[in-house]
């Protein structure tokens, strides 16, 4: 009886011991950290291999063309709509704000700067993450679980060159094009609201739009777009390629691709903005 009591005591004491608790906490933090570093390492290695295979033959122009069309052309409606309504809302909201200190004249400038520097690249990146990131992950994931990727290898075709390189290249090249179009549409959305709803004079609005816009505003947005295009296609390929077996595996790969691409876009956006900011 006293033996068990002693044991119980010892166990309770161990349960509450701050040293053990601290050690346990350290182990957990360590494990999480190692897991995180491992994931970062695997992703970096994957990205490195992907980039390497973008620049080494054989190349697949046919497949690249298909991806360019898929990522660029077919994303146009989604990205265009996003840009249009964002530009419109932006004009309304900035008017509300600026009219409070009689600076309505700045609406056009604020719209064009926000759209080109920030909103067009980020929103286009997020929309494309949903559209393209998901479909890449689903397609490559399905190829993984149905052994089509293994079949490629047996037919003397490197999966990185055949599947991944065309997508990375297409994403990196096409997003800037999409964003350039989105810039124009977004600014036009602001113009529509400005002229038809807020009663700006058309010439004045256009003049204000150009007045403070520099090439750097647009170009920095395009650089961001390029980075986001790479992130979206990379995450789609990475999660699809490492998809677990079964339909569930492909589903998880798709979700992970979209979520991780979106978060990475927002993080990268901050650092890129800071970089361009410092460059001034």
């Amino acid at each position: 009886m006293s033996m068990t009591e002693q044991q119980d005591d010892a166990e309770t004491a161990r349960g509450f011991s701050p040293v053990v608790w601290l050690l346990d906490l350290c182990t957990r933090i360590g494990a999480t950290l190692l897991g995180f570093l491992g994931a970062v390492g695997r992703l970096s290695a994957f990205a490195g291999r992907g980039i390497y295979h973008c620049f080494t033959p054989p190349f697949y122009p046919r497949l690249l063309w298909r991806q360019l069309v898929d990522i660029g052309y077919y994303s146009l409606p989604v990205v265009g709509m996003t840009a249009l309504f964002t530009g419109m809302v932006l004009a309304l909201q900035s008017y509300t704000g600026f009219s409070r200190f009689s600076a309505e004249g700045a609406v056009a400038t604020v719209v064009v700067l926000s759209v080109t520097r920030e909103l067009a690249p980020v929103l286009a990146g997020l929309m494309v993450a949903g559209r393209i990131g998901a479909s890449i992950a689903a397609e490559i994931g399905t190829m993984r679980v149905t052994e089509q990727i293994d079949a490629l290898t047996t037919l003397s075709t490197h999966p990185f060159k055949y599947l991944i390189a065309p997508r990375l290249i297409a994403g990196t090249l096409m997003l800037p094009v999409l964003v350039l179009i989105a810039d124009v549409i977004g600014v036009y959305g602001g113009y529509i609201v400005g002229v038809y709803k807020l009663d700006f004079i058309s010439e004045n609005y256009i003049h204000r739009t150009w007045e403070y816009l520099t090439a750097e505003d647009v170009i920095s947005g395009l650089w961001k777009a390029s980075a986001f295009g790479f992130i979206v296609t990379l995450m789609g390929c990475y999660h699809g390629f490492n998809s677990q077996r079964g339909a569930q595996g492909v589903g998880a790969a798709t979700t992970n691709a979209v979520v991780s691409a979106s978060i990475l876009i927002l993080i990268a956006n901050y650092f890129l903005t800071q970089l361009f900011f410092a460059g001034k």
């Binding site: 149905t146 052994e147 293994d150 079949a151 290898t153 037919l155 003397s156």
Partner: protein
Amino acid sequence: MAGAVKKLELKDVRKSFGANHVLRGVNISIEKGKSLVVIGGSGTGKSVMIKSVLGIVTPDSGSILVDGQETTKLKGKDRDAQMRKFGMLFQGGALFDSLPIWENVAFGLIQGKGVSRKDAYDLAIEKLRSVGLPSRVAKLLPAELSGGMQKRVGLARAIAANPDIIFFDEPTTGLDPIMADVINDLIVETSKGLGATTLSITHDMHSARKIADNIAMIYKGEIIWHGKAADIDHSGNPYVDQFIKGSAEGPIKMEV
């Protein structure tokens, strides 16, 4: 036996996935031009064994010799050269579902051997004929074909580049008995026609008897019996006896 040339040889091949020890020292060999069938239950590592030979799975240890050359450490160009000797029919078909049938069949010719698309198309039609498919299927997508037809396409793709060694992973699973037998005949016919060495895996005994010169049985990641196809009925091995009888009674216990 002793003088025969070994086309493919596995020596003490081991592979684990984490704590799951799938291959625990596999030893087998196939003579040039012969057909070996490996039988064994589900999950005994049959597919992993073939994938190790193909280099899709990297074994933890052991050696795999093709034409006497060690292949487990091959990379880049040497690996590609090795791959060109192989043809593979995957368990699930693994047809590229975004490509039409003819491009599936001709894939290895176009990508691996640089044959022009037009010539590859003609060759694909010829290969489709040789597995009994009409040329009208050439432009269809894999999803538009029945399972049996997909197997035939997979077979046509496996033999398209005239490989030295052909692997068949459960070629008859999921087919009706008559279609299964048609596929068996096609396998025998095409591999004899090419003079190819074949390694097949199956749990269909009828198929095994029809295709095999030699049979080996894999159990828990090891080859526990091998011999001539004709000797399978008096192997004297209780595991083999149980397997070919398909009985629940015996030394093999299913882990449910």
